[in-house]
């Protein structure tokens, strides 16, 4: 699995890109029965939607033929005295409820036409309107004059989030591994043989450190082979990296268009520059630091749980409180850190040791020091992690020491607290 996982992951990305392309290529055919005097030129076939125009038949016949041909749907625009009436009477028929993108596109056509009509009623000409209807984007900048990009915080937080998510997954997977190995030693009754040779504390710590190193090794293999594979895939399939964020803005509007596309092209360039500016090496280093520390804390708890129970089914009630802070970190991270990476909630959660490995990593792509995470916060959060680790290991070792020699009874939380005093 160690070597296979990166291949699987890259394979999945390739598959998703491929499927998205197929999905885009398969265009929908929509019949248009237009009995009115309007919209005669508005429904132009695009890559994703082609319009089939009907003439001089009644609605039922049109519906039948659309259904017979297996097409997506029929847009019926009835006769009417003016645009408002026509628009309000228009109906879209389809077998299933229509997709929201398609419906939006159709609605946009009506909206645009209605807007123009109303403006004309108010005495505004089309050329005037085009001058008015101009897409505007606020230029944002840092105090030092560097251009800020909208959404770059989200992108950065997303990258951090991916790292944070990886940490959570690894804590759960490898923590569970530690737990199962403790349970195995307990149920196979080898535990007493072993702890007559090594101290329970040594055994527990050895197990935790061993698996944490296995985790780090796994990461290194993933990162190295992942980078290599992505490079290979991009070369072989010639995938345009910008394809990942394109595709959402292609609404068939009446106006806007080319200029906007050009603007977004240069924006992509800027975003790419910004992404290259993310201190990746630093990020990966801190990722390792937070992974190891966070993992040490959580896996000591997992070890204690494994020692407390006789079999895996009894672990549920103890596992939930562990997963909780992890989930909280992920959700708080996604909802709060994305909006404001240096807000009070983000800072709080990136200091609190049970959530900091995840939340701090979401903030780190913004850099350290000025404009990023202040040095003191980073230092304090790592120090807190280390202190917490020592405290938790001390407590976990006490539970572990007692638990591994206890058989039969499923312990309650009260029992665990009692064990701390033995």
């Amino acid at each position: 699995m160690t070597f296979l996982s990166p291949i699987l992951m890259v394979g999945m990305v390739v598959l998703i890109v491929y499927l998205t392309k197929i999905n885009d290529n398969q265009s929908k055919v929509i019949g248009v029965l237009n009995d009115s005097d309007y919209f005669s030129t508005d429904f132009q076939s695009t890559e994703s939607t082609s319009f089939l125009k009907f003439k001089d038949i009644d609605v039922e016949a049109a519906k039948d033929s659309i259904m017979g041909m297996g097409y997506y749907g029929l847009l019926y625009i009835p006769e009417g005295d003016n645009l408002e009436i026509v628009a309000n009477k228009a109906v879209f028929y389809s077998k299933d409820a229509p997709g929201s993108t398609l419906l939006d596109n159709l609605e946009n056509v009506f909206e645009d036409r209605l807007r123009l009509q109303r403006l004309q009623d108010l005495g505004v000409s089309v050329s005037d309107f085009e001058r008015i209807d101009h897409h505007f984007e606020m230029t944002t900048s840092t105090f030092s004059g560097e251009r800020n990009l909208k959404g770059i915080n989200e992108i950065k937080a997303f990258i951090g989030g991916a790292f944070g998510y990886l940490i959570m997954m690894f804590i759960i997977i490898y923590g569970g591994f530690v737990m199962r190995s403790v349970i195995e030693e307990k149920t196979s009754r080898i535990i007493e043989v072993i702890i007559s040779s090594v101290k329970p504390f040594q055994l527990m710590l050895g197990k935790i450190i061993g698996t944490s190193l296995a985790g780090v090794t796994q990461f290194v293999i993933w990162i190295v082979s992942g980078v290599l594979l992505f490079g290979l895939v991009i070369m072989i399939f010639d995938i345009d990296p910008s394809a990942f964020n394109a595709g959402t803005e292609n609404t068939p509007g009446l106006v806007g268009g080319a200029a906007y596309m050009a603007a977004s092209d240069s924006a992509i360039q800027l975003y790419a520059n910004e992404l290259f500016k993310i201190p990746w090496i630093m990020l990966i280093c801190f990722f390792m630091v937070y992974f190891v520390l966070g993992y040490l804390i959580y896996s000591s708890i997992y070890a204690a749980i494994g020692a407390a129970v006789d079999n895996e089914t009894d672990t549920q009630q103890f596992i939930f409180p562990i997963i909780l802070p992890l989930m909280l970190a992920i959700y708080v991270g996604f909802f709060s850190v994305f909006n404001n990476p240096h807000g009070p909630i983000a800072v709080g959660f990136s200091l609190f040791p049970l959530t900091s490995p995840i939340v701090m990593l979401m903030r780190l792509p913004g850099g350290i020091g000025e404009g990023g995470v202040p040095y003191w916060e980073l230092t304090v959060s790592i120090l807190l992690l280390i202190i917490t680790f020592m405290g938790i290991v001390w407590l976990a070792a006490k539970i572990y020491r007692v638990g591994i020699l206890m058989y039969g009874k499923k312990p309650s939380y009260r029992d665990l607290i009692k064990w701390l005093k033995y």
Binding site: V193, I195, L405
Partner: protein
């Protein structure tokens, strides 16, 4: 200094449960020392304290006269009652690992393992997984792993459980051999027949307290209470039994051999048998006269019962 291990007023408490209460023991070098007691008496707790798995709340353990410390772990071999091995690991691999945990070098461990595997005739198990072996086979591996590092003190907790009688005998012989070579052995069990066979010294632990300890032969002597089995040659019931019942404490009696032999057990007031025998002389032929020595089992049951009454 003739004791390998001395426990001095060792106490251990788990929450409100007292597991050991001021237990003191002296385990002589080169002996087999039986640690007896019913289930839950505190034997396992005491053994775990000796193995430094848990620590006493009060009291001290001395190993060869020095307070017990971490380095002594390598000088002790322990076969726990609750024992097992990694099920999916290969026999040889696992034995090597466990031996190295006890401080043996890999080469040394391998050499000794080969020797023991030959000795117990299990050489071809090296590459098998534990889960492919029967319980008794796994126990043999466990025994080897326990004694492999040639500890000065061996602790066996119910060593014969899981063995068939033939293999139990093989293991018993091995234990005796180890004693010959100078190893001291603590032997925890509630199977009394093996105590009679093996142990020179015993200690009886019941309800967290040590009730008695010492040399088994001396304890037996102390526990014999002048009970004798007597067989008399008689000519049918002739009033002799009634006469004896008046003068002595007859515990049980019966006529056998068509009334030609009277067997009975009698408890004499002292170890002096002269008065009783001279009382018999002339009245009947004394065919046999034996003192009953209590078995370890009798002593065990008697001590535990008397101490339970005073609860």
């Amino acid at each position: 200094m003739n004791n390998i291990l001395v426990a001095d007023k060792v106490s251990k408490q788990f929450g409100s449960h007292i597991a050991l209460n001021q237990v003191s023991l002296e385990i002589p070098k080169n002996s087999i020392y039986g640690l007896l007691g019913p289930n839950g008496a505190g034997k396992t707790t005491l053994i775990r304290i000796i193995n430094q798995i848990t620590y006493p709340d009060k009291g001290m353990i001395f190993f060869e006269g020095k307070p017990l410390e971490a380095k002594h772990i390598a000088m002790i071999g322990y076969l726990p009652e609750e024992r097992g091995l990694y099920k999916s690991m290969k026999v040889g691999e696992q034995a090597l690992y466990l031996a190295q945990l006890k401080g043996l070098s890999k080469a040394d461990a391998k050499m000794r393992l080969k020797y023991w595997f030959e000795r117990l005739d299990i050489g071809d198990w090296w590459n098998k997984k534990i889960q492919e072996l029967s319980k008794g086979m796994a126990q043999k591996i466990q025994f080897i792993v326990t004694v492999l590092h040639e500890p000065k003190l061996l602790i066996f907790d119910e060593p014969f459980s899981g063995f068939d009688p033939i293999n139990a005998n093989i293991i018993k012989d091995e234990i005796l051999q180890l004693r010959e070579k100078g190893t001291s052995i603590i032997f925890s069990t509630h199977r009394m027949e093996s105590v009679e066979e093996l142990c020179e010294y015993i200690a009886l632990i019941h309800k967290s307290e040590k009730l008695l300890d010492g040399k088994l032969s001396e304890i037996k002597r102390a526990y014999k209470n002048n009970i004798y089995k007597v067989g008399l040659g008689v000519q049918g019931a002739n009033g002799l039994l009634e006469d004896l019942k008046e003068k002595f404490k007859i515990l049980s009696s019966e006529y056998v051999d068509h009334g030609l032999q009277l067997n009975f057990t009698v408890q004499l007031p002292s170890a002096d048998t002269g008065a009783f025998l001279s009382h018999l002389s002339g009245k009947a032929n004394v065919n046999n006269f034996t003192e009953t020595i209590p078995s370890a089992n009798d002593i065990f049951i008697r001590t535990v019962q008397t101490n339970s009454i005073y609860e």
